[in-house]
Structures are given as C-alpha cells and as structure tokens.
C-alpha cells in the first residue's frame, strides 16, 4: 500500500544514492518548501470553496455552482482575478511595513506547519517541544496583523489591529491551558509522542469530562485566535469596513485571506492531534475486527478527516452565532473561559496523578 511515509523514504533513498549528504539535505529542504506552498495553495482554494458551500447550505442557499462542477473552480477564478488586480500601496502608508506585513503573516503560518504530523512517520520536523513551538510561533501572527494595521495609516485598520491584538493575547491563555491539560496526561510536548500515547484511545475519550471541557475551550479559543466570526472584531465589516486589511488590495489582500484559512487548518490540525488522536485510527477496546478495518484506512486520511471535521465545526460556529461586542469578547475570556480552564487543568492534574485516565 502506498503511504506518505513510503514516498518520503523512497525519495530520501534515491537522493542519497545520487548526491552527497549536504546536497541531499538542500534538495529535501527545497522539496519540503515546494510541498508546503503547494499545500497552502490547495488549502486556500479548497477551504474557501468549502466555506462558501457550508455557508450557503446553512443559509438555505445554493452557493457557487456555475464555474466547474458544483462550482469547485470558483475560488481559482477569484484568485486569478486577485492576481491581476493592482496591489496598491497608499501614499500615507509606511511602505516597508505595509508590504512586509502580509508576507510575515504567511511566513508565520508556514513555520507552524513544521511539527505537524500529517501521517504515520510523516512530519517535517519532530522537535521534542512541538506543542510549545506551535503556541509560541502562532502568537507571532498578531505582529503581522498589528504591522498591517499600523502601517496602513488608516484609523479603521489601526482599530482593527488593536482589537485583534487584545483578542489574540487574551485567548492564547485559555488555548494554552487547554493544550496543557493534554500535555499533563501525555507527559510530553513532542507531537509524535502525543499521537503515540493515543494508541489505545483518543484523549477526548480517555480523559473523561475534563478532556471534553478542554476540547470545547480549545475550539472556542482557536476560533478567536484565527479572528473568525463570532470573534471577527479585527475585521468587523459593519463598523471598521474591513479592519486591519482595509487598505490592502490585489495579491496582498489575497495573502491575508489565504493566511486566515491556513491558520484555521493549523489550529484544527493541532486540535485533532491533541484531542482526536492525530493520524491514529479509531480503535474500540478489544473489538479486533473493527480495529483491523479501521487500520486499513491510511493514516493521512484519518488526519485529514479529523482536521476537516474540526474545520467544519468552526465554520458551523461562524454561520450560526451572532457577533460579540469587544467588552463581551473580553468578558467571555477573562470571566468564563480562563477560570473554567484553570479549574479544569487542576482536575485533570488530579486525574493524571491518581492514574484515573484509561
């Protein structure tokens, strides 16, 4: 059976036969970079189409259905349009920061891709502090957004960026604590070990109620961190035109748009890895026939399926819930999510110490 792991070993072996170690490493770096960019492009096109379809069905509409079967080429056509548009830089803008901001946001998104396990033994960089790395790097994206807002020289952009800063800094706390809840159980920050520890069952099942609470809080915080509705105060079309990317047009706008969807994919991938077992197939106790049938499905499909499910849940939020005001947003974090997740972490620690988890 063809798996991503086998393809990777095959390429690695072939390169080692023909080149020396240094050149092999360089070629592999280039390959990984090209792969990441290709993944980004595909994700951007696919997730925007998915978002539009999901939104349409939830609002009893049809969604895009003219360009290609079921409208799947609609997003490619939109991208083509954006590429051909003028990438305007306003006169009053800080030119360097203005042009750097979208690139920075994309680079941050690309960096977080490194420790994510896409399939069994298929990972760009399996560092022993994987989860810490992800939460550290993901908080950099707020710098890109603040940069965009500040350098635009536009009051709406600045307000949007400031809100985004307040929001991301607050919600990172509860996201981090719910991640910690799982780290307490696994005893490791390494992504591959976290996945391995879920061999007998995913943490959301094994961790009892605290794991479920942590999962819910993580999803809420992830929605807030990616600046999506009902927490889209950074964009806030109704009061701030488009928030931090008001002044952006053409491909620079497209980069922000792309980064939003990449970030959704990444937080959902992290959520799937921590709570839903990453690429680990669903196993039920000792039902051997069922377990073998589940094993037959490739690990990459498992990972992608779980991630897409979480992305769907976040889209479901967006098209159901009304938007929060700024004060409500901060109330939710500081008065509800943070105290609950702290108590939850304490309960989970007790469970881990007493060994009550399965």
């Amino acid at each position: 059976m063809i798996s991503l792991e086998k393809i990777a070993t095959l390429i690695d072996g072939w390169l080692h036969q023909h080149f020396n170690d240094v050149i092999t490493l360089l070629i592999e770096c280039v390959l990984v970079g090209v792969g990441a960019i290709a993944l980004f492009a595909l994700l951007g096109l696919g997730l925007v189409w998915m978002e539009r379809k999901v939104a349409a069905l939830m609002q009893i509409r049809m969604g895009p259905n003219r360009v290609g079967p079921k409208g799947i080429f609609q997003t490619s056509a939109d991208t083509l349009k954006l590429i051909m548009k003028e990438g305007l830089t306003p006169d009053g803008a800080d030119k360097l920061l203005f042009n750097l901001a979208p690139v920075l946001v994309i680079i941050v998104a690309m960096l977080i891709l490194a420790p994510i396990a896409f399939a069994k033994n298929f990972q760009i960089w399996d560092i022993n502090i994987g989860v810490l790395y992800v939460s550290a790097v993901s908080s950099m994206s707020v710098i890109g957004i603040l940069m965009a807002g500040w350098s635009s020289g536009n009051k709406y952009a600045l307000l949007g960026a400031m809100r985004s800063g307040a929001q991301i800094v607050s919600y990172e706390l509860s996201a981090g604590i719910s991640v910690l809840t799982i780290v307490v159980l696994t005893g490791s920050l390494q992504i591959s070990e976290i996945v391995q520890s879920q061999q007998t069952g995913w943490w959301i099942f094994k961790g009892h109620i605290p794991a479920i609470i942590a999962f819910v809080i993580f999803i809420i915080a992830a929605t807030a961190e990616t600046n999506r509705a009902p927490f889209d105060l950074a964009e806030a079309e109704s009061e701030l035109t488009a928030g931090f990317h008001t002044e952006y047009s053409g491909m620079k706008f497209a980069l922000f748009f792309l980064a939003e969807y990449i970030n959704i994919f990444i937080v959902c991938a992290i959520g799937a890895t921590l709570f839903l077992g990453g690429w680990m197939p669903l196993h039920i106790g000792n039902v051997q026939a069922f377990n073998h049938a589940m094993d037959y499905i490739p690990s990459s499909i498992w990972f992608l399926g779980k991630t897409l499910f979480l992305i769907f849940v976040i889209m479901w939020f967006r098209w159901t819930f009304p938007r929060l005001r700024v004060d409500q947003l901060l109330n939710l974090e500081w008065k509800y999510l943070l105290p609950i997740s702290l108590v939850n972490l304490l309960v989970m620690t007790v469970i881990a110490i007493l060994g009550w988890h399965l």
Binding site: V54, L57, M58, Q59, I60, R61, M62, W316, F317, W319, T320, F321, Y336, I340
Partner: protein, 158 residues
C-alpha cells in the same frame, strides 16, 4: 449564590448556542430546504406567488370585453402618473352620449408596482399580473395601451 448563577449562566449559554447550531445543522443536512430559484434554468417551471406584483393588466373575456368604465379612479390613485385614461363618447342608439375609454395608457417605466390603482378600481377592471421579464431595448415599448383594439365594456358592469 454567585457560583450557582455563574454555573447557570454557562449552561444556559451552551444550551442556547446548541439550539442555534441544531437549526443550521438541520439546514446543512437537508438540501431540500434550499429556497434558491435557479432562474433562468427553471424558467419553464418557475412558481411565483399569487401576490407578486409584476405589471398592471386589464383582463378581457372571450368577447373582447373588459370591465373598465373610464372613471379615472386609478389615474387619480396613482402616485406617479403612471396611468393616463383617454375617454371618448359613444353615441347610443337612442341618441344619448355614453362615456367609454378610448385608450388606457399605462407607463410601465414609471410604475412602482404599488398596486394602489388595483385597489381603487370600483369594477375590478385591472389587476396585477406576475410577469416580470420587462426588459426591452427601447423605452417606448414600455408605454402600453391596456385595452385591446375594438374592445368594449362588458354589459351590466355599471
């Protein structure tokens, strides 16, 4: 007491959010609920509501007779002078003159489809049709004469 209220609030919030998500989830999984009309693909089977107001028409029966007495109530009721009634006088066999419409001029390009003329008509001579494809290349084509040539008022309307 505070803790009790706090927990109640959290559970209330989760419950109300779940109610909303059930609704959108239902719409997501039931494609038959989609209300979009695939116009113009479904032109042949298009279903329009009875109350849809597309344009003013004057129904004629099989003898080419209508119910308009030429009283001009619709012309007076119209807020933006869409209707212009030109009357003529028929000479009856007994020598009397009788008022009748010569032309019922309807300016579709001025009409806002408010329906006040239909409400004002004492004899129900005009009504709103639900045709809506009114585009033409020349606006003069939008000025219509509603009574058909040679039509007469129906017996017994007055």
């Amino acid at each position: 007491m505070f803790i009790k209220n706090y927990i109640k609030e959290v559970f209330g919030a989760v419950k109300s959010l779940w109610t909303g998500m059930r609704m959108t989830g239902y719409y997501f999984t039931h494609k038959k609920e989609v209300i979009t009309e695939q116009y113009p693909d479904n032109r042949a089977t298009l279903q329009l509501a009875e109350r849809f107001r597309g344009e003013v028409v004057m129904p004629h029966d099989e003898n080419n007779q209508h119910a308009c007495t030429g009283c001009s109530a619709c012309e007076i009721a119209c807020p933006n002078a869409t209707i212009k009634i030109i009357n003529k006088f028929d000479i009856l066999p007994d020598g009397k003159k009788k008022k009748a419409i010569d032309k019922f001029v309807y300016h579709l390009e001025l009409c806002t489809m408010c329906g006040l003329c239909v409400e004002a008509c004492p004899t129900s001579a005009i009504k709103m049709a639900n045709t809506f494809e009114h585009s033409v290349y020349d606006r003069r084509q939008l000025t219509k004469t509603l009574n058909q040539p040679g039509s007469k008022i129906r017996e017994g309307v007055e």
